[in-house]
């Protein structure tokens, strides 16, 4: 007998009502042929309002969240999500229909234009599209822009170079844009310099996709020379801005030779992750690539803001409507709250926090790449009596969310720690203390870690069974 909440379907009882709507007050005269209409939705929930509230409250208790505690997931930038932004995004006056006439949505169009201005100033790119729904969607959009630009110059080329430390979305996005992916090995320093680039820089290279700072938390310090070599080859430099938090107000990718980049509003600009989405992945480009950005584009016209829906040189539409507008609202609110005087402080505190964690743990854990750390630090499980997974699971017993594990792939048993600027010194000290306790346990009683977690609502789950005989839905009459 499980102490976990039942499924909503198991709470269902014939005749219970969760929401009392009135029938329409027009005559009940349908105009659809009977054979096109459905009957009652079999087994659909019938649960009372109070039971639904309690059901979800019970589920809520099983979740860890940023609101609950430290969430040092590397590459994910789990910073605090300011509450005022939720109120602003829920405001009735902003909930316009996307096809409302433009003179009735000038405020919304201005919000989009303002965010674009902020992003342009912070990154040094010439312009942004706010359409992409998430980081990977931005990568795909950016690679389509690269391809369209090269195509117009005569040859779209064939290959995109991607460092071995890259996030998996990079090769997948390049692939769906029609490119073949060639992986480049990072140097012993963990970066891509001319020595790593040159052997791969053939005439069929369309672009290099580079994350900066990269997934080791290391700034790609040769980026300007790399950009120059790419440009001399007629290739472009794409920057994955997943880790832009380290550079806010410190340096602008546009000044480093970057041609195309995406950013993640749900990482750098504080919008909530929502258990996996929605995100928003604006794409910025250098001036020569502006014509290829997706439609629609918002611009300031003589009588207010207007929208361009078609442009023959654009890659087209990547999404319906305008993008994730309510995410854009939150990101703009965050930036306006910070103001120009505080954006640099965000990066400074994020980098200070990461380096503080590094300084306190580096004697205890293997640090395979010793180059200076920016916003995150990556340790390895080399030399430990347990695996990274065991440490991660033991952290759960201490009420701390684990760091990112087993990524980047070039680090054995990677532990990728990104504290963000949102954490106080006390929180970091608590985390460091817990890590020390766990590493002690690993030496004295490694089995404790292998059995962890034991204090969570459920213990380690059988992922093999889940994948062998997938049960992806509830069905009446089946054993659940």
């Amino acid at each position: 007998m499980s102490h976990l909440p039942k499924l909503i379907f198991e709470l269902s009882r014939e005749g219970k009502i969760g929401c009392g709507l009135n029938e329409a007050d027009v005559p009940a005269e349908p105009a659809v042929d009977a054979e096109l209409r459905r009957g009652a939705i079999a087994d659909f929930p019938q649960v009372s309002e109070v039971e639904i509230v309690r059901h979800y409250m019970a589920l809520a208790k099983l979740n860890y969240s940023v609101d609950a505690g430290f969430y040092p997931l590397g590459s994910c930038t789990m910073k605090y999500n300011p509450k005022i932004n939720e109120r602003l995004a829920a405001a009735e006056e902003l909930q316009a229909h996307p096809y409302a006439p433009h003179d009735l949505v000038q405020g919304n169009l201005e919000i989009m234009a303002r965010l674009e201005e902020w992003l342009v100033e912070l990154t040094g790119m010439a312009g942004f599209t706010l359409a992409p729904a998430a980081g990977a969607h931005g990568e795909f959009t950016g690679m389509l822009v690269v391809r369209r630009y090269l195509q117009e110059k005569g040859d779209p080329r064939r290959v995109v170079l991607i460092p071995d430390s890259a996030h998996g979305t990079n090769p997948a996005s390049a692939h769906f844009a029609g490119y073949e992916v060639r992986e480049i090995a990072s140097s012993a320093k963990g970066t891509i310099g001319l020595a790593e680039l040159r052997p791969h820089l053939t005439p069929d290279v369309a672009a290099l996709m580079m994350t900066n700072p990269n997934t080791l938390g290391i700034f790609e310090s040769d980026i300007m020379a790399v950009a120059e070599a790419l440009h001399a080859n007629g290739s472009l430099l794409y920057m994955d801005g997943a880790n832009l938090n380290a550079l806010l107000g410190i340096v602008r990718p546009g000044d480093l030779g970057v041609d195309v980049m995406h950013i993640n509003l749900h990482k750098t600009f504080s919008t909530p992750h929502g258990g996996g989405g929605p995100g928003s992945g604006p794409v910025g480009v250098a001036a020569n690539l502006l014509p290829y950005l997706p439609v629609p584009r918002v611009r300031k016209g003589g009588s207010g803001y207007e929208v361009v829906y078609a442009d023959p040189r654009s890659i087209g539409r990547v999404k319906n409507f305008y993008g994730h507008f309510l995410v854009i609202v939150r990101a703009l609110a965050y930036l306006m709250a910070l103001g120009r005087e505080n954006v640099g402080r965000v990066a400074e505190d994020a980098v200070l926090n990461a380096n503080y964690v590094r300084s306190q743990l580096q004697g205890l854990l293997d640090l395979p790449y010793k180059a200076p750390t920016l916003h995150e630090v990556v340790f390895s499980d080399s030399g430990l009596p347990v695996k990274t997974l065991d440490i991660a699971k033991r952290l759960l017993d201490y009420g701390v969310h684990p760091f990112t594990i087993y990524f980047p792939l070039i680090v054995h048993g990677a532990m990728m720690i990104e504290p963000t600027e949102s954490e106080s010194k006390e929180t970091l000290d608590d985390f460091i203390a817990v890590m020390k306790v766990i590493l002690g346990e690993a030496r004295e009683n490694p089995e404790l870690l292998r059995q962890a977690p034991t204090r969570t609502p459920v213990r380690r789950l059988d992922e093999t069974q889940a994948a062998r005989k997938p049960v992806l839905r509830w069905r009446k009459g089946e054993l659940h």
Binding site: P5, L7, I8, F9, A24, V26, P30, A31, L36, Q46, E49, I52, L59, L62, N63, S65, D67, N81, E86, A91, E92, E93, L94, Q95, A96, H97, P101, L104, N108, E110, E121, H167, A172, S173, F176, A177, I218, F219, G275, G277, G316, V318, K319, N320, F321, F325, Y334, M336, A337, L338, N342, R345, L374, E421, S422, V458, D462, E463, P470, L472
Partner: protein
Amino acid sequence: MRYLPLTDAEREEMKRAIGIADVRELFTCIPSGQCRPPLGKLPKALSEPELLAVFREFGRRNGFAAALSFLGAGAHSHFIPEVVSYLSSKGEFLTPYTPYQPEVSQGSLQAIFEYQTMMAMLTGLDVANASLYDGASAAAEAVLLAVRRSGRSRVLLAESLHPEYAAVIRTYVQNLAIELVPVAVEGASGRVSVSDLRSQLDDATAAFVFQSPNFLGVVEDGKAIAAAVHERKAFAVQVVAEAMSLAYLTPPGEVGADMAVGEAQSFGLPLGFGGPYLGFMAVREEFMRQMPGRLVGETRDLDGQRGYVLTLSTREQHIKREKATSNICSNEAWCAMRAGMYLAVMGQAGLACAARACHLNAAYFVRQAAALAGIRVVYARNFFNEVLVEVRKGSAADLAAALKKKGILAGVPLAWFDAGQKNRLLLAFSELHDRAAIDRLLAAIGEAS
């Protein structure tokens, strides 16, 4: 700054621990000439009250709020029970990351499992995924899935597909070896021409993508379509741009569709000027292992307790990289959770009631509009909640502009998508309308046309 908890004293202490005197030393890896760009063009920090005032001003510059709206075309206004807003805004649902640590994410995982189940029930198909970005990109992903599964490269698109969906599909496949072929719509019925469909289907055809109810508001004869498509061993992909129709019309799976994809914004998400919304995908079981997007599955923990995990992850980019079924990573998890809450609260009876009201209100409008001299309802039968009208004199944009002056957003002029369609207007009805609102619309059209 209120979002930064470190005090100056703590910063000093931490710098000492690291062994630096100035935080700038941490940034010496960055080319010095490029450091600290001027940000003088950007505004200064706002306090919380100032922020509220600025956004109130943005809201004031909008002018739609007071209007009676009949806008639809893929974004629909429906009643959202307060319970949905209350529960979904809880930090436990809003602020976690993707549930990669299932031991502390059972809330999100179970909520998504329930959502997947309800979408499968509504579509009449076996399996629904945990979400895709939106209806249009879900349609594009369905095209890629059909091509992957069939090993064929020709995809037929109904001309009655939402133009923005068709545009997104074109964008997605522009560099892949996939041929897109349009299938005509019969002017008289507003439905896909099954004879044109048959003539276009061949052994290289992977799928036929059709929308029902389609962009002209008409419910397709899905059974005839699916039969024709299956004769050539291609897949029938039904796009649903108004998910509320799933609660009123024969579900795609029963009609014979192999996949249903579309937009589930109607399930508890605000209009939000177009996003974030909720792309869904439901398929027959044979597609399960090649589906894009995350999937939550049921399993057991070490003690034999029921629990939920993200599963079949080998399909995804973090494992298969460039060979993945899609590049999607972040999805619309919170929107899907919220849709699950909405569907649970509405329940079997409530959802059916709302969907019925949507249709009956549209049907009432169609009957009453027969008396109006200035407009003609193009398809007066077999619609769900959207109705296409033709303006007899002048343009649809003129009519819409005249009604806007009376505080009514009468519908979306099709010229928004196709400059050639000057005299057509698409109106959407929902359970939020009542007889008085529709009578007001009818009277205003009567006066204006």
